[in-house]
Amino acid sequence: MSALAEISPQPLVRVEDVHTYYGKSHILHGVSLEVAPGEVVGLLGRNGVGKSTTLKTIMGLVPLSQGQVLLDGQKITGLPSHKLARLGIGYVPEDRRIFRLLTVMENLRTGLDRQGVSEAQRQALLDKVFTFFPVLGERRNQAGGTLSGGEQQMLAISRAMMLEPKIILLDEPTEGLMPRMVSQIRQIIDVLHNEGVAILLVEQNVPLTLAACQRVYIMEKGAVRHHCAASEIDVHDPVIKQYLGV
């Protein structure tokens, strides 16, 4: 496949034949995928096929029983999540999970308060986020729990951006959002891509995914079933119908 030849020799993130269980349930049956530095890769599939679990496994939130995960060629399997965050993996979970009782500013600080960040850099990061999401700037001293769903999503993404990660794992960012916000999400993905941040995007919104990503993987029943460049297919492609159709 032509898409595969474009993957750089050293992928940023590489998932190799990963099997994951929830208790006795075998959720991931040998998932393998790759994300190159700066690439936007999509992960499509119906509900329950294991897309979120794949992200959680990469982030160390769910232990895998077989296989491995590599970051920049280094094995990161089994490392605790806080180390992975420091190594450059940002995570935006499916239900946003912002800290409801912390203010917007404090939420951002959970990622911003790191070693090696100068005052100038801090200000620059904050400015970037407040420019792109002015609403967050306005509400910076409000508790996270008082924000609307869309605003919380913005906060969740911004929070991950504070880590200046090499890759952001985005789990269904447009779920439950109004169309206006969906396009804002699309824009932020493009901005991040232009800055060289890789993104692994789990989504149900096929048009958005195909437009924003360079490559897509399609999962079914806990394994990757199809893999191609985003440009090779469109919404009406039989592959889409097969794995995502009702």
Partner: protein
């Protein structure tokens, strides 16, 4: 009518006021102890059975420091530091391996720790009670009593420490780390917060607060290896009445219960006055099990 007049004439107003002050003083120390317990419980879901023993050890370390340096304030600082480190060691060796297991295991484990600490104290210091001398021996005239300034000092210091804790939690990087970890441990870790370290740090902080309370309490009563149980028991009552995991609530509850006990001591023997706290607990469990002073955090 005469009886009513007689009642009001003989009502011990002065004693009541004195006991109010005494109640607040003990209440503040209890609040300091309970805050440490609440902090640990709120963040790690750990009921620290050994909290009373940390209080007790704090007092003993205080005695040792005072007997070699004669300085009460140095004792306060050193004791908090040493017991804080001990607390960190306990958390790392005994509680970290139990992370993720049924929380009942942590009660048992901390119970085991309390056994060791209590008997260690008995072994090293013997069964005879000791005392710490007051650092400030001046008095002021309160009605017919010479009231020791030291007691007022304790109340103020305890309040200052609790205030300091509150500020620490609200502002500053570590405060944010602690609050984020309390709200969502998994997400806090995903944001790069070293949660295991936060847990150890909080336990150490709670231990240090218990130790400081022990040193402050020293001049007020006698110090022996069994004193921990009474304090941890009362602290537990305070935590339940105040609403588990509710810092503000436990402070109010501590003062409330101490005041009631102080008033009860006017009419009954102090060892029976403690029944007051039991009654408050029972009433709370009957009518407001989430806590008398429970407010949304």
């Amino acid at each position: 009518m005469d009886a009513v007049v007689h009642f009001f004439q003989n009502f011990p107003y002065e004693l009541l006021l004195i006991q109010t002050i005494n109640g607040i003083v003990t209440g503040m120390i209890l609040a300091l102890v309970a805050s440490g317990l609440t902090l640990i419980f709120g963040i790690m879901d750990v009921v620290n059975f050994a909290h009373g023993e940390l209080f007790m050890l704090g007092a003993y370390v205080g005695i040792i420091v005072i007997s070699s340096t004669g300085n009460f304030w140095l004792a306060l600082v050193l004791s908090s530091l040493i017991v804080g480190i001990l607390g960190a060691a306990i958390q790392v060796t005994t509680l970290r391996p139990l992370l993720g297991r049924d929380p009942l295991n942590t009660i048992l484990a901390t119970f085991g720790v309390s056994l060791i600490l209590q008997n260690f104290a008995l072994w090293q210091f013997g069964p005879v009670s000791r005392k710490i001398d007051q650092p400030v021996t001046t008095h002021f005239q309160l009605f017919y009593l010479q009231y020791p300034w030291y007691r007022i000092l304790i109340a103020v210091l305890s309040a200052a420490m609790i205030g300091g804790l509150y500020a620490f939690l609200k502002y500053g990087k570590f405060g944010i780390w602690i609050r984020a970890t309390t709200q969502d441990r998994v997400m806090a870790q995903a944001m790069g917060i070293p949660v295991p370290l936060v847990h150890t740090g909080v336990f150490a902080l709670g231990a240090a607060m218990a130790a400081a309370s022990g040193v402050l309490f020293g001049p007020l009563g006698s110090i022996n290896h069994t004193m921990g149980l009474d304090w941890v028991l009362k602290a537990f009552i305070v935590v339940v009445v105040g609403g588990m995991g509710n810092l503000g609530g436990s402070i109010l509850a501590a003062i409330f219960i101490s005041l009631l006990e102080a008033y009860a001591s006017i009419w009954v023997d102090p060892s029976q006055a403690v029944i007051v706290s039991f009654v408050v607990l029972i009433l709370t469990l009957l009518f407001r099990p989430t806590g008398l002073f429970a407010t949304p955090k």
